[in-house]
Assembly symmetry: C2
Homo-oligomer: 342 residues x 2
DNA sequence: GTGAAAGCGCTAACAT
DNA sequence: ATGTTAGCGCTTTCAC
């Protein structure tokens, strides 16, 4: 590959001048500039960013770690980040943690060697510790937060979304509303769970721990949990389910089908996070939608702003709003279902 | 960040020895090795891969360009590649072309500056020309091929899959089978189309160009094309549809629903490429499944093998088999539908 | 406005 | 077995 030396030689200037002509055109006489640019074009010159990075101590690279690129939610975050980073001349390095703190740690180590100038991470439960490996690198926590107060965060308004979801079910007349909730040490899971609880209590309904089952964000977990909830004795079985993330919702819907429960006749279901699947399934799913792509772009914009203006005020906490989209998977509870008493 | 100099100093050796102790442990006395390793651990030393790459002329990096990371098919390819690359100590740099040759070109240019040692690409229609920018870099064409004979390819057996799909419809008794086919200059599209045609002709059925509509791989295109095919006069309307990729299938199913056609009663549908959505939609979709994740890992394995043994024989063309999965979106044509005559 | 030269962190000759 | 040194390609002082 043509180096800047080749360009300089062809243009009959020193490498210093060639470099200037290419990166700071106004520092060089217009005639030499033209000679250099022509030579560069002719040779198909592409700067070696490795060498440049080493010299400048800036890689123009940001690291991105999401927990599961196969989850459309995360794919969309990643796309938002990449598009925004690209607009600002940064290259995004994408890694997967698969929700596994050990893999997250490895990704961070690998990343570290590449000297990213910033990091955007959807943290796993082990992130708080893992992130010490990259302390000093400006970081944005995306979607979830570890609780580190020094870090910029970009999240959706989980509390309001979960509140709206639960209240929607309550307003339809449901009194036994189950929830399938994500891992306890993931901020989004606890926020959604807390909001669910306070919506119930705000409406004077009891919070029944037996109707709240944990899951590890995967389809399987949702399936298992839903199966348990839906096979409770008739008078204790929930008439509605609020499910904490998109993948688990898939599992829950399939569990309901397996049990031959009609949606929403026998069971109302509301999911968190919209998706292609939610829109096209039968019946279309009522969901709390998140501005997924925007979460990604915001994270990138905030990070890059921070790179340009280091220590410019305290870390920001951006929160984007969520929207309840009522489709057809929620309705009033089945008239024959026993009414809640006591 | 701690450099190898810091490690050397702490271990009281030269940087050369420190380097050897870390990368070629057996070239160094065990006592010094231990001193160096301890020092490295103590300082949390992580080699600067930028400097190493510059020195060695090898970045241990491979470039990956897919056309649409939001498409689960491509997300899965990417995951397969990343997992395999990781196992071999390579880092994958992921880019999106969004099916746009111009973006593909930009991705290649950016990539070039990072000196990837190899490239895995799902080519767009402009790839043949674009790839000249990276000539000299070992390349694997994945899923689709540009026709360049010097390049390793990893593809699914599109012809057999499309043949099986069409024959399945024929064996159910369909005689007017429509197809929605991808862009003409994409190899997978033409292979699937040709197989469709030869299955028809092999069964003595006419190939009717009016029943074959093109689409640009997106949901919208599938929707539009299906709408046109399904609103043909009753005696010309296809009773079955074979659709050339997963996204367009979504559009076609929604179009059928919009027209109040029941699947498979009024219309049989078969898609190419399986997905979460295909399995959970109602009715579950009959599809030609591809070994998506394996396509990705194979591409990475082949590329890495090639990096280890340069010019070791002619380029390989790996083809993984596809599977017809019969679910419930296909059945015999509706008895009241007019039978094909003439 | 341009050139000479140093140096980013690392590793591979080449010494010893 | 270990140290000395050069150099990967680039940018940036520092001279002129």
């Amino acid at each position: 590959m043509a180096s800047i030396q080749d360009v300089a030689q062809l243009a009959q200037v020193s490498t210093a001048t060639a470099s200037r002509a290419l990166s700071r055109p106004d520092m060089v006489a217009s005639t030499t500039r033209d000679r250099v640019l022509t030579a560069a074009r002719e040779l198909g010159y592409q700067p070696n960013v490795i060498a440049r990075s080493l010299r400048q101590g800036e890689t123009r690279t940001i690291g991105v770690i999401v927990t599961d690129i196969l989850n459309p939610f995360h794919a969309q975050l990643a796309k938002g980040i990449q598009d925004a980073a690209d607009r600002h001349g940064y290259t995004a390095f994408l890694f997967n943690s698969d929700e596994d703190p050990t893999k997250e740690r490895r990704a961070l180590d690998t990343l570290r060697g590449h000297l990213p100038q910033g990091l955007i991470i959807v943290p796993t439960s082990g992130a708080r510790e893992n992130l010490q490996a990259l302390s000093g690198v400006p970081t944005v926590e995306l979607d979830r937060v570890t609780g580190n107060p020094d870090v910029t965060t970009v999240t959706a308004d989980n509390a309001t979304g979960a509140l709206a979801a639960t209240r929607h079910l309550i307003s339809l007349g449901h009194t036994r509303i189950g929830m399938i909730v994500g891992q306890q040490d993931i901020s989004t899971a606890t926020l959604r769970h807390d909001a669910y609880r306070s919506a119930l209590e705000g409406a004077g309904l009891p919070y029944d721990p037996a109707l709240v089952l944990p899951g590890n964000h995967r389809e399987d977990d949702g399936h298992r949990a839903a199966l348990r909830l839906l096979t409770l004795p008739e008078d204790r079985r929930p008439t509605a389910l609020f499910i904490g993330n998109n993948e688990m919702t898939v599992g829950a819907v399939l569990a309901a089908r397996a049990l031959n429960l009609s949606i929403p006749g026998d069971l109302s279901i509301i999911g968190f996070d919209d998706s292609r699947w939610a829109q096209t399934m039968n019946p279309p799913l009522t969901v709390v939608a998140q501005p997924t792509y925007d979460l990604g772009t915001q994270a990138a914009e905030q990070l890059i702003r921070q790179l340009r203006h280091p220590r410019d005020g305290p870390p920001l906490h951006i929160q984007l709003s969520t929207t309840l989209i009522v489709r057809h998977s929620t309705s009033a509870p089945h008239p024959t279902a026993p009414v809640y008493t006591h």
